[in-house]
């Protein structure tokens, strides 16, 4: 339960943050104006992937390191010969999907402005991501985590998020795309119009790929949706 305990601490902290957290209780007309959004572009709202794909790869495969290509092929074989009642993908065991995969799941998430952070509340597994926008750096002694450590800044209308400090326990997508603990994720998140958000992500992971590669996903605003409880462990039949 360490991840849930951590999320609890963060959520309670968010209760007391200078934010528009109360707006989550009702479908809010977006964009919500808050003190935080008065000083940077407002990305707040409930967002949902526009077109869900099981892969997060760009059209052309990235330059895999040999081990990563072999591992992806093995996972692809396992997926193809998969007994639905036997878990292969770590998320089937309720392991967090990690960043960036959590962004691209077919479940909504909500961006909430706070004074020093942008919070993303994910419906999937009730996970939380925090992006520090107060100018701090990544700590030198990061403990590897599923979500990583994110710092962000606005460049014009674009939120540029830099995330490091990952463990290597997750797949980047349901196909089994590998990564290592050296992954460095950069995202450029921009509201291209009122109802559309784009996350252009660059994955720089020299242990798994010989060069950085990038792709993007688009999300649609769901003004009449609220983030609801999702429990991964309630109703399972897998042995």
């Amino acid at each position: 339960m360490p991840n849930r305990s951590f999320a609890l601490v963060l959520l309670i902290a968010a209760c007391f943050a200078t934010s528009d957290a109360g707006a989550q209780n009702t479908p809010h007309p977006s964009p919500v104006k808050s003190r935080a959004s008065a000083i940077h572009p407002d990305l707040s709202g409930v967002w949902f992937i526009d077109e869900y794909h099981r892969t997060i790869l760009p059209k052309e495969d990235p330059p895999f390191q040999p081990w990563a290509k072999e591992l992806l092929a093995k996972r692809d074989y396992d997926n193809t010969h998969h007994d639905p009642d036997i878990a292969i993908d770590p998320t089937e065991r309720c392991i967090p999907p990690g960043t960036p995969r959590i962004m691209f799941q077919p479940f909504p998430w909500e961006i909430v402005n706070s004074r020093d952070r942008i919070l993303i509340i994910f419906e999937y597994q009730s996970l939380l991501r925090q992006i520090f926008i107060d100018g701090r750096k990544h700590p030198d002694d990061l403990e590897p985590t599923y979500m990583g450590h994110s710092i962000g800044k606005f460049e014009g209308d674009t939120l540029v998020v830099d995330t490091v400090g990952f463990n290597d326990k997750t797949w980047l997508d349901p196909m089994g795309l590998p990564h290592s603990d050296a992954m460095h994720l950069t995202e450029r998140i921009r509201r291209v119009d009122h109802d559309t958000l784009v996350d252009e992500y660059t994955i720089d992971d020299p242990k798994a790929y010989t060069q950085p590669w990038k792709a993007s996903r688009t999300f649609k605003l769901k003004s009449d949706w609220q983030i609801k409880e999702y429990v991964c462990t309630e109703n399972n039949t897998v042995k």
């Binding site: 957290a21 109360g22 998969h82 639905p84 089937e92 309720c94 349901p174 999702y230 991964c232 399972n236």
Partner: protein, 135 residues
């Protein structure tokens, strides 16, 4: 909307503590299913009778008796998306009950077992609902 007052924030924090305490009590870590085990490219259309309906996370399960080509009754398990996503696509918790006759469009398990991932369901009144909650 203005920021909530301190009393509201304290109530919210207490609510979170209770919610997480309940969650922590659920110790099972068994898996739920991805769609990897299902042949999404070759869906089947099957008609049958509901024997049980489990409305829960992470996925909804409909258990059905379905006759094969020889008239033998097979027991199938049909897996839909999470209750949250199904409600967002128009489902209601009580709309499928034991004894209902359903037309199912779903992706069968790749290993041949009698389980499938629900793509859409048509009720006996002709109403059709998406089984995944997203396109």
């Amino acid at each position: 909307m203005e920021s909530p007052g301190m009393a509201t924030r304290i109530r919210l924090a207490i609510g979170l503590l209770i919610a997480f305490g309940t969650l922590a009590a659920a110790t099972s870590l068994s898996a739920h299913h991805s769609s990897a085990g299902y042949d999404m490219e070759h869906p089947l259309n099957l008609k049958g009778v509901v024997t049980n309906m489990e409305w829960g996370n992470p996925h909804v399960f409909i258990y059905m008796d379905i006759k094969d080509d020889s008239g033998n009754v097979e027991q199938w398990r049909v897996e839909g998306n999470s209750p949250n996503m199904l409600v967002r696509s128009g489902w209601k918790k009580e709309m499928i009950k034991t004894g209902d006759v359903l037309q199912i469009n779903g992706a069968p398990a790749k290993n041949g077992s009698k389980v499938m991932r629900l793509l859409s369901v048509t009720l006996s009144n002709g109403q059709k609902y998406d089984g995944q909650g997203f396109k």
